[in-house]
């Protein structure tokens, strides 16, 4: 199976490719438990984090993943201190990085499709770390990894994704990945937060969380995007929490082995109660730890490939 040049969308990945990425991550996860956590694999390669939106865990996770594989890392945040504040265009920034010889660009951008555009401009591999309301494929892969770690097989698992589906790139990427791996997905939330086209995603739509809570194997809560509260998409945090939040009472109705997940950062007391987020069911911190292994896996599989025009007839 040939490996990907870019990772832009979960649409690119079939079940075989997802399995290969997760299996590779499983081997790399072992390394994170050793005293010496660094591997020499990507020595001499350079990875650039190009972030046009705020991020803590994704950027740090990618940075650490690259460093664990001995790649050099450049962090570029498009903020007041960067060339972007002087009016440099996305394209010029891309070409500047290209001229410096980076091998991979990890990009987060507020506009959907920005990573696709970048991939057309540069020779480096492009990894989408979140673009607008479109996709966040590495989050979906680490979530698939975290679920598979507990249930061994994703086939026929029932996963509810709860909350603001319409503005969530995490939801879009997760639905694609879960459906590809044979899981059954239910999208739960107020009608104002579920996009009209969601019925074509291969998921079921439900507005009442109590109707599915007893049946699900995974309850995946999305962050309530407080910055959108003035759009009046839901009445108040309090009402949201009562109708679609996971509190202790609702969590107690879940199957004994069912899991609670959240991509972070959490609004405790809104979409998830503090005690639920710290309960046995919650694998929120596993998701973070697994994110590192999954991103190492992707960097290894995408950068550890023959360069164009290099003779591959080397001896064993």
């Amino acid at each position: 199976m040939s490996m990907l040049k870019h990772l832009l969308s979960m649409d690119q990945l079939g079940a075989g490719e997802i399995t290969r990425i997760l299996d590779t991550a499983e081997s790399l996860r072992q390394v994170t438990d050793r005293p010496i956590k660094k591997l020499p694999t990507l020595r001499g390669r350079t990875v650039c984090n190009l972030f046009y939106e705020a991020s803590t865990r994704t950027r740090i996770s990618f940075e650490l993943a690259a460093k664990r594989l001995s790649a050099d890392v450049i962090n570029f945040s498009a903020d007041a201190k960067s060339s972007v504040s002087k009016g440099e265009s996305f394209k010029d920034t891309a070409w500047t990085l290209e001229a410096m010889g980076v091998d991979a660009i990890i990009v987060r951008h507020g506009s959907s499709g920005a990573p696709h555009q970048l991939a057309r401009w540069v020779k480096a591999s492009v990894l989408n770390a979140g673009d607008g309301f479109h996709e966040h494929p590495t989050q979906a892969l680490l979530d698939l990894f975290s679920i598979r770690e507990r249930f061994k097989d994703l086939e026929d698992l029932h996963v509810a994704i709860v909350g603001d589906i319409v503005h969530s790139r995490v939801a879009r990427s997760n639905v694609k990945g879960l459906v590809t791996m044979g899981a059954k997905v239910t999208l739960v939330g107020p009608a104002t937060l579920i996009p009209a086209q969601a019925k074509d995603w291969g998921a079921t739509i439900e507005h009442d969380l109590d109707a599915v809570i007893e049946d699900v194997d995974v309850c995946y809560l999305l962050r309530v995007q407080k910055e959108r509260q003035n759009e009046q998409l839901y009445p108040s945090d309090r009402e949201y929490s009562i109708l679609w939040g996971l509190d202790r009472r609702r969590a107690s109705r879940m199957k004994p082995e069912a899991l609670v997940m959240h991509p972070g950062p959490m609004n405790r007391g809104v979409e998830i109660a503090a005690d639920v987020s710290e309960s046995q069911r919650s694998i929120v911190l596993d998701q973070v730890a697994n994110g590192l292994a999954v991103r190492m896996s992707l960097l290894y599989l995408m950068l550890g490939k023959p360069e164009d025009g290099v003779d591959v007839g080397a001896s064993v």
Binding site: M3, R20, D23, T24, E26, S27, L28, Q30, V31, R34, I36, K38, L39, P40, T41, L42, G44, R45, L69, Y300, L301, G304, K305, P306, E307, V310, D311, V312, G313, A314, S315, V316
Partner: protein, 188 residues
Amino acid sequence: MPAQAAGGAEFQLKTRVMGPDEIRRALIRISHEIVEGNKGSEDLVIVGIRTRGAPLADRVANTIASFEGVDLPSGALDVSLYRDDVALRGPRNLEATTVPGDLDGKIVVLVDDVLYTGRTIRAAFDAVLDMGRPKAIRLAVLVDRGHRELPIRADHVGKNLPTASEEVVKVHVEELDGEDAVLIGEFK
């Protein structure tokens, strides 16, 4: 371990150099040599290099365990992440690395099927040293086919096999291939 050559060429068998009996005897001799050289089985850790060194290491460890009457741990090492040809050959599928306990102060005996350029063994040294500080690392191979590119030699050799560099040496093991055999052929 020679993978399939570029361009989808096929392996054409020329000679079957070792069969199940020869392989069994060679591994028993190697097992005795290891214990003799170490003056006992104390502090030994037998570690096979994946893919085909791993089942061979298990057999060596079991052989030593049975004639010395001890429990002898064995492990398996995937050296893909330490290879110097990742950028040349592309990523390999990773398998689990399992090493029994702490390697500090131990005598680690690496086991592989074929010793050729020495580059795999070089990668294995780095992998082992990242996991601890063994007192010594030794090397046991079923077949030494020559053509070294690094100054590395084996302490224990099942069979020295002079080959031409265009030839391919394949080792089959019962556990993975359904038979024990050492084959020489060419990719055509």
